[in-house]
Amino acid sequence: MTLADLGVSLCGIHLPNPLILASGILGTEAKLMARVARAGAGAVTAKSCSLLPRRGHPNPTVLAWEHGLINAVGLANPGVEAEVKELRQARALLQPLGTALIASIFADTVEHFAQVAALVIEAGPDLLEVNISCPNVHDEFGTPFAADRGAAAEVTAAVKEAAAGRVPVLIKLSPNVSDIAAIARAVEAAEADGISAINTVTGMVIDLHARRPILANRSGGLSGPAIHPLAVRCVYDIYEAVRLPIVGIGGVSSGRDAIEMIMAGATAVGIGSAVYEEGPEVFGRILREMADLMAELGYERVEQMRGVAHW
């Protein structure tokens, strides 16, 4: 079994293997993304960017607890203009490696989503991921776009129009909803090309001596091993609901976890927090574990495993 057998096609884009660096992890710099690509990632996602630069929240912003990470970086980013430069450089570095580049965007309004999308596409990413887990400012309760079928569909339609067929659009869903399949259906109806699931799970860690939440933002997003079965369930539910390809993300830290995601229905698998334990080299280990497991399970290609846990 050679690594070449791990290749998959995501929205028509060939990935040398199904492992994708998730957004917000090491995706701040072109050279850092190239390093992750060299470590084995089949695609890398850049840190989500917005129209204007954002400083993000004050520290503490990222912590490791016993069963995962929690973060409230607050979507710090240099703004789309600087991001386009970084993405162009990343693209040049990734192309010889055969690694796909995924741009990630977010915004506060539907209109801004469309604007950032149009601008970021200029950098020529292979795919565009739309992070809709941010609050919807049109909504009186500040409900995140990802928690509302209508808002999620509106963003999808606006970004799709801005993309004008130049790049496939992945909509990244939040697990902090009661029915993720319903959101997935809304996003499919609005003609998304694929779905990324999941973003982080809202949580909080309080320090007893400080008598307050440790993150400056109080609550933050949980990721890593703790959220893995929750993510697998979301991918499973979405696969039952829609025909779109899914990037399964959440707590994947082994070949076993990655194949579990694929059996739940994922076409490709995002890796974020697992970088914590062993750095970018985690990609190589997971790929080796996947290849060994596929041989043991009698699979020759990744697609053969996709969705087999549904029957």
Binding site: L26, E29, N59, T61, V62, L63, A64, E66, D207
Partner: protein, 257 residues
Amino acid sequence: MKPSLPQVARIVQIVDESPRVRTLVFDLSMAADPGQFVMAWLPGVDEKPFSLMRAQPVTLTIARVGPFSSAVHRLGVGDRLWLRGPLGQPFILPPIEAGQPPAGGTNGEALLLVAGGCGVAPLHFLAERARAQGWEVWVVIGAQTAADVILANRFAALGAQVRIATEDGSRGEQGLATDAAERLLHSTRFRMVYACGPEPMLEAVEGLAQRYRLPAQLSYERYMRCGFGVCGSCSRDGWLVCRDGPVRQVEIQREER
């Protein structure tokens, strides 16, 4: 996942090193090596990285330069700070070959430490370790003016050779730390060069080390969020100060001709 939530620590001693720099000793100990750092959290204020000046007990040497360090300077004995770590890659002492360095001697090879600003903190920790292993240690402390020179007599107390360089010549040699370091490199046989301080100083030390064909270990600073190689905030062209560093190993370059 090894947990790395902040641990509360109480200040048990404060030593003023200079008008702008104080050393805080905590009621907490860590298993850590020189060059490693902690993220220090002051609830409601901020969380920032600081090199360990000593690990048992945890000791930090902090310059008052901005909002966070000023808030730390307002703390007194008995007040608390929250620390997570140790984080990052440490300085590495050269391997000791059989019978070398002989107790108290150096076999003709010494270690050169070049410190600028708060870079003295991790280098003091390193000097302590190196002396305990019997290495001859030379330290160059660079500062703008005499008042900014810190820890000099602590290094001397460890039995290290101390050279001071101030830009205004108000104490020790006049000039930059790297000028003083170069003079030492002329006269003494060194095995390794260590440096911590402002980035231009590190660049100059790297050049010196290359010129004198010595390996070097340089400690960098960058704005940090996670401190453990996940968020990408501290990248220097793909090299993560928090995880791959803060100490960068520079091998002896092959001569280009």
